[in-house]
Amino acid sequence: MRSTSKYLAAALVMYGTAAFADEQAEQFRDAFLDGSAGWEDVRARAKDEGTVNLYYWGGNDVLNVWMDRVVAPAMEAEGVKLNPVRITGTKDAIDLVLAEKNSGKGVGDGSVDAIWLNGENFATLKRQDALFGSFAQLLPNAANIEWDQSDSRSLLNFRDFGVETEGKEMPWSGEQYVCAVNAARVEAGDVPSTFEELRAYLEKNPGKFTYIKPPHYLGNTFVQAAIYAHNPDGNGAEAFQSSLDEIGAAELARLITPGLEYLKGLEPLLLDANGGKPRYPEDNAALDGLFLNGEVNFNCKFGLYAVATGLATGTYPEKAQEFIFPKGNMIKNKNYLAIPANAPNPAAALVLVDYMTSVDAQVSKLKNVGMPAGIDPWKLSDEDAAALAEASPGHTGVNQAELDANTAPDTNATLVDVIEATWLDYIERGSDAPIADIVARAAENLNK
């Protein structure tokens, strides 16, 4: 009950002194972003703020435990109480930030301090001008991340689904789209490595594969991989790095047609299709269930260490192992921590994000949660890099070098929307219209 009165008091205080807090927070923000406030000032202010509200997708027990067991004590040491708010979808936090912004809550006045996000959700906040500012390179632990634009490996830190990050979000974790196979049900020789081999396998074993339904981002990513592999110009992901305005709807339609035709042709061979309409799971938990129960023999998702963690939690079948698919087009990206423009505790949020990108936090996260590092190992001391390498939960069936050799970048966020709309129209609703028309219509809807 003690916390109740605290909340009440906090609500009253916030209501009464909103305008005052606003001004101070604004001054702090400007001072930090132009470099006149040093890191010690940030830490001191964070102690005064006392709390930090981190909003993140709470569907992963292991991550929840890690937040409470590792991050909370680390923040405690900084004099800040971590309030981990577990949400069912990252979009809930985005909606909350925007709703508060629209009802006039500015700096220091909202309720979300930091959000774990990437792609579309970041693009939305950026478009609506709802981000704190370009803070990433000002944090002490920015040294763990590659910011040299001449190094092509820095691209993942500057571009989030093709959208310029501008330092308004900090890389926190890396991911790669990896497929797992249940080796108890599929012989080693039958495991596909290209989309054509997958089709050949399904012709012999119909119904033993499905992918998560777009607009879920895991479904979108599978569709993108298929489109890369069927790119008529043969240059894979390269053509999909520019925005819709730069490419144009007609050119995009030409580039994605072969991939979508392939997916349409694959439909009758997918789970429960029996030559008709297949069943697409709604999210990764549903797909994990199908994979565990042997309804499908493969499980594709962002999960570089999904097999190791799936075995540790009993959500994967015992003989699960990774394999390289599709060859050369395994999409790799990063996910980030962003600070909204109306964060109530901006200094505490900065301290939190800085801690999250420390070597200690990254090693512990990789080891305990199986979430790949978001920092770049070549920027670390040999000792730290070795600790990070040692923390890896490991792979079954493939090695890191093979995984590294087959990566591809994400698709530009503006194209993702159009491709998603096209998939829904052409494949889910079975539209007879030519793909060029569907793409043109989708592009037009987006520009409205």
Partner: protein
């Protein structure tokens, strides 16, 4: 007493009736069986009838608390959610009673212009979808600084509970009549004595039933709590939703589901006992 009743009941029933009773019990209890098994499982895959690996076998190997260990660990937030749920439910019930008792008295005993329209108006919140109320309230509460606070959630919970409570208490007042109170007045009791010694004891069974019902409704409200709590205030329904929205039920989700059903079951048992024996006994027996 209760046991004797059951015995005599089972003697009176025909085999056909007994069969029906068992089927109904099966429908009610059936879903709990897989839930209970799942809550002790580590890996339970089709086509195994029982889990191939149990939680206890993996307990020492896993660095993460599994199944019931997770449910009862602070990480699952079950305790925090239970405290919040019970606290919000209790406050809502008390406020709801304070508002509805006088209102029900007037509605049951007085006649005034537009009374039936007013009664209809009172049940409107039950007709308007919760999502519509929730979003509108959220916009208002954000401005007032009440979003994400206990006060905000309690106010929101009053909206769907007041109509029920008013209806129940109105019926209770109507059943009571003025006779007893007038009798007491003739015998020289003052207003206070009448209220404490006559009216309230006789109302008690209805009040207890209404209060338990309100509490139960409040502890089950998901959408309004979710909107107005903004994820900052966890209650059992919001905790459960965030756990099972993925569509699969793992061991810890099954455990939390079982925990969530507990307040309802406890209250049901309490209300059965209290309303039948205590309240009715005191109100009408002597």
């Amino acid at each position: 007493m209760a046991f004797k009743n059951v015995q005599s009941l089972s003697e009176r029933l025909s085999p056909f009736q007994k069969f029906y009773l068992i089927v109904i019990a099966g429908f009610i209890l059936g879903p709990f069986i897989p839930l209970l098994i799942q809550s002790f499982a580590f890996r339970w895959a089709w086509p195994d009838l029982l889990p191939s690996t149990w939680w206890l076998e993996q307990r020492d190997k896993s660095m993460l608390p599994l199944a019931w260990d997770y449910v009862f660990s602070p990480y699952s937030r079950v305790w925090e959610a239970t405290v919040n749920t019970v606290f919000i439910g209790s406050v809502v019930t008390v406020i709801c009673l304070a508002i509805c008792l006088p209102a029900a008295r007037v509605l049951a005993r007085e006649r005034f212009r537009g009374k039936s329209a007013f009664e209809f108006f009172l049940s409107l919140p039950l007709i308007v979808p919760e999502a519509a109320i929730g979003i509108a309230l959220l916009m208002i509460f954000i401005r007032l600084g009440l979003a994400g606070s206990y006060v905000g959630i309690i106010i929101a919970h009053l909206i769907p509970t007041i109509p029920y409570m008013v209806r129940m208490l109105t019926a209770v007042y109507q059943g009571l009549g003025r006779d007893f109170e007038e009798q007491a007045m003739i015998l020289g009791a003052n207003r206070r004595q009448i209220l404490w010694r006559v009216t309230l004891p006789m109302l008690l069974p209805g009040v207890v039933a209404g209060a338990l019902f309100t509490f139960l409704v409040s502890t089950n409200i998901f959408l309004l709590t979710f909107f107005l709590g903004q994820g900052q205030i966890v209650t059992l329904p919001t905790l459960l939703f965030s756990k099972i929205s993925g569509g699969t039920l793992d061991a810890s989700a099954a455990g939390i589901t079982l925990i969530v059903t507990l307040p309802g079951i406890i209250l049901l048992i309490l209300s059965e006992r209290f309303i039948k024996e205590e309240a009715f006994g005191k109100g009408f027996g002597n």
